[in-house]
Symmetry: C2
Subunit: 238 residues, 2 copies
């Protein structure tokens, strides 16, 4: 079994959530998004370490949280200006013998143990994997106000986290992105640039990224068990 870590990214500012607090520190049913994500990651049997990455200014807040009960939890490290700086900071903090790493957004705090397990298993076998859901929308690639192409809808998925990788692969991807001055909107994208196949594990729309106030409401509804039944199935079109 490969030694396995989960990086939980909470360095985003989340101004749009309308809270004075950074979004990872927003509360959902009396518990912060960050705490929920950390707890779920720690509950995965295959996970050995859970490494939080926070904005430096938020480190004092961390110590106000009561997280002593969470197993496997490492001291937080400060993130960087860009997502991949935060990932690199988290990676740098891991012990040398960690071979498999999942990167997860704290704001996706409804992720399940089973989803994390499935992504880790796929990455363990294939090197790289991510959680994603089929998109309901017809996607248009648009440039200069005109449609460039309409990719087949059956091929269009929305990336989620966790995204998991063999550690050396992610390190190589980050180094190459840095050398090429490329910024990705997710981590898998940087690994794709190496020409390495990235496996897709089908997740659930429940694993939403909580970014806006109404996302918190949707998350509340999910937790109440009366949550939306948004299906991954495509809409009827006629």
């Amino acid at each position: 079994m490969m030694k396995t870590a989960v990086l939980v990214l909470a360095a985003g500012r989340g101004e749009r959530l309308g809270h004075a607090l950074p979004k990872a520190f927003a509360a959902l049913r009396g518990k912060t998004l960050l705490q929920r994500s950390l707890e779920t990651a720690a509950a995965v049997p295959e996970v050995d370490l859970v490494q939080p990455v926070l904005a430096a200014v938020d480190l004092p807040r961390w110590f106000a949280l009561e997280l002593a009960a969470i197993a496997k939890l490492c001291e937080p490290v400060p993130g960087g200006a860009e997502r991949q700086d935060s990932v690199a900071a988290g990676l740098a903090a891991l012990p040398q013998d960690v071979e498999l790493v999942a990167v997860h957004d704290a704001a996706r705090c409804l992720v399940t143990v089973e989803e994390i397990r499935r992504v880790l298993a796929a990455a363990s076998e294939h090197g790289a994997a991510l959680l994603a859901v089929p998109l309901r929308d017809t996607v248009k690639r648009v440039r200069d106000g005109e449609v460039l192409e309409t990719p087949p809808r059956s091929e269009c998925w929305a990336a989620q986290t966790p995204q998991a990788f063999r550690v050396e692969l992610l390190r190589e991807a980050l180094a190459k992105a840095r050398a090429d001055a490329v910024l990705g909107t997710d981590d898998a994208q940087l690994v794709e640039r190496l020409g390495v196949p990235v496996k897709v594990v089908e997740g659930s729309p429940r694993n939403l990224k909580i970014t806006l106030p109404e996302d918190l409401e949707v998350a509340e509804a999910w937790l109440a068990g009366a949550g939306p039944a948004r299906s991954a199935r495509r809409e009827d079109q006629a």
Copy 2:
């Protein structure tokens, strides 16, 4: 000024809305989605005709609606099995002198007069245009369970309706799709296949397609004025 029609498509079955009724006949604040869409289309000054397209089995329901007050409204025509069959049926019902047509999903009943006007204006000038919003998600093109590519997020938009076209262009696009046995998930796609540039008009996330029960709840919230403030801006990523 070109003679202008709006096709309002309501032939979808919408089983997922959990109503016994087809979705266009579901009520939102005491008014069906269909009626709302028809009223908004009729309120556009540049629109001369509003042509509903219904499933044949729903025609009896139509006559139970009280729509006499809606100006410009034509008798409904029965749609077909596929979206483009319904569009073709609507087109065939229009007077020969109609030169510009917008196709709109009845289930997008929160569309505004201004949005329809802007799409019609762009199509009048350029031949083809659609309403769309930037996607918040990182989109993956996926084939056989692996990532094929990650299109740049700044280029990924979600198509909405209305989509508007010069009539002869849409007829040609439908004929070519039929000849090639191609099924599109939206109408613009068929016009794109002709190699004709399709303009993109930025819409609003408020113009959602009501497909699932929680979509009705979101639409209620919008109508109550307390609706979600889901922004078209990209999420922060760090």
